[in-house]
């Protein structure tokens, strides 16, 4: 809580900040100044475009020197002092209080400034490569064998009825596999790898296999009655205990730093932990009363 005696100090700080803003080649209040759409790039209001392929230490202030207002319909604070005020590199080195988080992200993350982790909505733990990255070109082909540092998570499989099946009736199987991202070193560079499940291969233990593009879901989630057929159900025709296995095929994409996603050649296969299913026959008998209430009742 600010005490009244600090008010003058706060006012001075605010005044300093406003004065500093006049040095900036863009208005602090208008986030729309950064426009990286097609139109924005025509208009020169996409600093990312201005900084691309320029190597390290890009001073983006120069990108605005020729513009009067940057096409932002802004507040009139822009322009004028470009080149003579604080450079964006200096501002990004200490952006606190000078830029909004969005500006900090949009502007400072375009050069090789180490402020990426400050963006509140995207806190990656890795930064963009700070040195020219030889393997980051589009010509580099990454295959699944390069992903040794990026193990895809085994998916958790389930079935119902829990652990058993009725011979002749569908038993329902499904797997909780989702898109997930890992971080680590890829060819020596900080990178992210994203795994997307694309295929599920079930082996039901009775010689049957099924390849499915859908992960399946429980009868309840599907809105189906018990023992209903589903896209991932299986019918056992014989009694016995069967070991059920699952292999999930993932498509992988990789990205160096905050660059775009590119596909990894090949498919990542991840086996899930096998589990047992007891298939038994069903018989119906007439009983005198509810066997759950009286297990020793006649017929139970």
């Amino acid at each position: 809580m600010a005490r009244p005696r600090f008010l003058p100090l706060i006012l001075i700080c605010l005044a300093s900040l406003l004065e500093l803003s006049s040095y900036l080649p863009f208005p602090l209040s208008a986030s729309s100044v950064v426009d990286c759409s097609h139109l924005g790039r025509i208009n020169g209001t996409c600093p990312e475009a201005n900084g691309v392929s320029n190597g390290s230490g890009v001073d983006l202030t120069a990108g605005y020197a020729g513009g009067s207002g940057g096409g932002s319909g802004g507040t009139g604070q822009s322009g004028g002092r470009a080149g003579s005020g604080a450079s964006l590199a200096e501002i990004c080195a200490d952006p606190s209080g000078r830029l909004t988080s969005e500006q900090e992200w949009n502007l400072c993350a375009t050069g090789d400034f180490s402020v990426i982790s400050r963006h509140p909505e995207w806190p990656p733990t890795i930064n963009a490569p700070t040195t020219p990255c030889a393997v980051c070109s589009t010509d580099t082909i990454i295959t699944v064998t390069d992903l040794t540092n990026f193990p895809a998570a085994p998916a958790s499989s389930s079935m119902e009825p829990n652990g058993w099946a009725v011979v002749g009736l569908p038993a329902n199987f499904w797997v909780a596999a989702s898109v997930h991202t890992g971080e680590g070193l890829l060819l020596g560079q900080p990178a992210q790898v994203r795994f997307t499940p694309i295929n599920f291969r079930w082996t039901y233990g009775d010689g049957s296999v099924r390849s499915s593009a859908t992960a399946g879901a429980s009868w309840t989630d599907l809105g189906a009655v018990e023992f209903a057929e589903t896209a991932t159900s299986h019918v056992y025709n014989h009694r016995g205990t069967f070991t059920v296995g699952l292999i999930v095929d993932y498509r992988a994409d990789y990205s160096f730093g905050d660059q775009g996603w590119r596909p990894v050649e090949g498919t990542v296969t991840v086996p899930s932990a096998p589990f047992s299913v007891v298939a038994a026959t069903e018989s119906t008998v007439l009983v005198a009363e509810d066997c759950r209430a009286n297990p020793r009742g006649p017929g139970c």
């Binding site: 097609h38 139109l39 208009n43 691309v52 020729g66 589009t138 057929e229 019918v235």
Partner: protein, 209 residues
Amino acid sequence: MRNPSRRHSSASPMTRAARFFVAPFLAVGLLSGCLATVNPNATDPPTAAPLPEATEASPIFASNEEALAAALEAYAAYTKASDGFVTNEIDRNDLSVFETLVSPRYLPDILDGLESFSKSGRRGMGKSEFDTASIVSYADVTDGKAEVDLYLCSDYSAIRVFDANGVDVTPPDRPDRVPLQVGFVSKVSDPTKLLIDREDSWRGQDFCH
């Protein structure tokens, strides 16, 4: 309470004879019905009808080439509309064309940029181009929703920006050619039509120079 069955005790001999002959057939019929119920089909194992083939949706695009073609068509329409807006060739008060070209997620950003440019009083002259397009990825993320990513080089060298007084205000260091990674998503009403969803600068090796 009367027993209704007694009313039939006075049936004629003819009726009795008919019953005598009919009864075995009824019994056989009932028995066969019962047997069918008890043992539905001894030779046919109770397997489920094949279903995954019937339920799996076919891909929205048959190949990456088809996805690339759809994405190029969408990007060409989008850049043509944007260029037309910049050069005042389309009505700046009617931005509905962008609703058919840009995803709902990205549309607010586009409209902000268009409105801002319009207020600035600027206009452009010329036309942009793009080339060196290649597909990064195509995936049907859900039934009826495709995502396509392209690399391409966008070329702005032939389009200039002027202020209201006719002065060329094109930033002198505006890149003429920019490597982009453009993301597309399919239109809800027609999944084979793609909408622009992202336009990211490609910060890896510049493949446009």
